[in-house]
Amino acid sequence: MSDNGYKAGSNLEKILTAGTFAVTGECGPPKSADGSVIEQKAKLLKGYVDAVNITDNQTAVVRVCSMASGYAAQQNGVEAIMQMTCRDRNRLAMQADILGAATLGIKNILCLTGDHMSFGNHPEARGVHDLDAINLIKMYRDMRDEKKFQCGDEMAVEPRLYIGCAENPFGDPFELRALRLKKKVEAGADFMQTQCIFNVPKFKEWMKEVRALGLHQEVKILAGITPIKGAGMANYMKKFVPGMDVPQEIVDRVAAKEKGEPQQAEGKKLAVEMIKELAEVEGVAGVHIMAVEWEPAVPEIVEAAGLMPRPAVA
């Protein structure tokens, strides 16, 4: 822990530590060396989110790396949560990259296993999986708190990190899901973001187990929200995205509207309703809004959910 009492001193850490309801967003870097994309997305989200996840080759598709994109987001006024998957890097690269990210001023890191290569555009790639996400969390915590590399060697200056993890309340076996979060918390996770929530009753059931284990007091839980852009997207997520639980009534509700603007409006309305409902769940410390390739919808949703203005942190 540093002099100011914070682990990393990021906006996100300060807001969550203060007990303020946090809002995070998500940006997918572009599939080319176009440096303007992150700049534009950051400008859209600036002031509406406390920090933004920068995805790491999401769905196993090659994009600008999360470190460069995270740096670009911060240059444009939005704090980054750099995602790091175990799929593409071994422990040398994961430690080197976090040191590099820290020297660039990145303070929030999200430790993930990563979608399997078979889903992406290089299904012939060799998956690394040297560590798993829990090993990764522990490694970064030891770098920060013990100033030690995974091998045990010591370092002069530690990376100051606010360490995040993800968990999917809708994955199976359900009885393991809260216990797996416990394992991540014990490994050193400071905050966690959930998979997109569409099945609210199931999420509440999971939160009951999380609270029974006392985890909501040890880790800041951000509930995942994805605004649905149309019935096609809802159907796609229901059928093809691993680990998603989209109840049929959600698909039907959006599909009942006309395609285009009416369906988009319904998707945004649904997101706002869900944010309001999830904010009432004991132990939910914030929301993580994943507007996949639909960042312009975020300001409106945050505003309508009554989450503006975002707190200014010193």
């Binding site: 296993t113 990563g114 399997h116 999986h129 798993d132 090993n135 199976d172 393991l176 216990l179 680990g243």
Partner: protein, 227 residues
């Protein structure tokens, strides 16, 4: 056992293109049990090559043989005369057998007629499932006798990823519909054993230096060496 699949015929043809005396060498151990590269399969491949050569109007001599085990020097001695006569040997053994043959008779040209694919278990007749990657550090005592290194698509050591659904792996596709989630299986097994607490045991990063990542491995049993 070690399992292998025969390469596509066109690829095999390319490997022996231009050679006049071809020996197809089977191996009567693992690859024979998985019905890929035993003496019978060597005989079949030799026939196919002869028929193809005849159809193309090429003069090629194709013979076949098999070693009891291509991976052991003494069994290779038994087929030495046949190997010496050939311009090229098409080995149907696993990667170990092919290399043993190539080393024993170097610089004789030895080509692989199969792709060695796994250390597998015959689940039912004509179906094999991968069960081991010879990682050099077996921890299945902690996972109910089920290996997460090879049976979890991401080799996770600390429980199922978010893609586990109804006992199936997220990699499940129409072509690979049978992949079971290793961690769902492990959890059920540990429960049946009354050892649920093992699910939450600390599992530090794996030592991959004991796997092929550490370079080619060598095992010496001093006590077993001849005096």
């Amino acid at each position: 056992m070690i399992t292998a699949e025969r390469k596509p015929f066109d690829e095999i043809l390319e490997l022996v293109d231009g050679h006049k005396k071809i020996l197809v060498a089977g191996c009567d151990t693992c690859v024979a049990i998985c019905l890929t590269g035993g003496e019978k399969e060597a005989e079949i491949l030799a026939s196919e090559l002869r028929i193809k050569a005849q159809a193309d109007g090429r003069e090629v001599e194709v013979e076949h043989t098999a070693a009891i085990r291509q991976c052991e020097w003494e069994y290779l001695d038994m087929i030495a005369a046949r190997v010496e006569e050939a311009d090229v040997v098409l080995s149907m053994a696993c990667g170990i057998g092919i290399q043993s043959l190539a080393e024993k008779f170097a610089p004789k040209l030895v080509m692989p007629a199969v792709n060695t694919n796994m250390l597998g278990m015959p689940q039912e007749h004509a179906v094999w499932l991968e069960r081991c990657v010879a990682c050099g550090e077996c921890r299945i005592g902690l996972t109910g006798g089920i290996c997460p290194v090879v049976r979890c698509s991401k080799s996770l050591m600390n429980g199922p990823c978010g893609g586990s659904h109804d006992g199936k792996c997220e990699v499940t596709t129409p072509e690979k519909e049978d992949i079971e989630c290793a961690w769902a299986l492990i959890w059920e097994r540990l429960k049946a054993q009354g050892r649920e607490e093992l699910m939450f045991a600390d599992r530090p990063p794996k030592d991959w230096s004991k796997s092929s990542s550490g370079g080619p491995r060598k095992m010496v049993r001093e006590e077993a060496k001849p005096v």
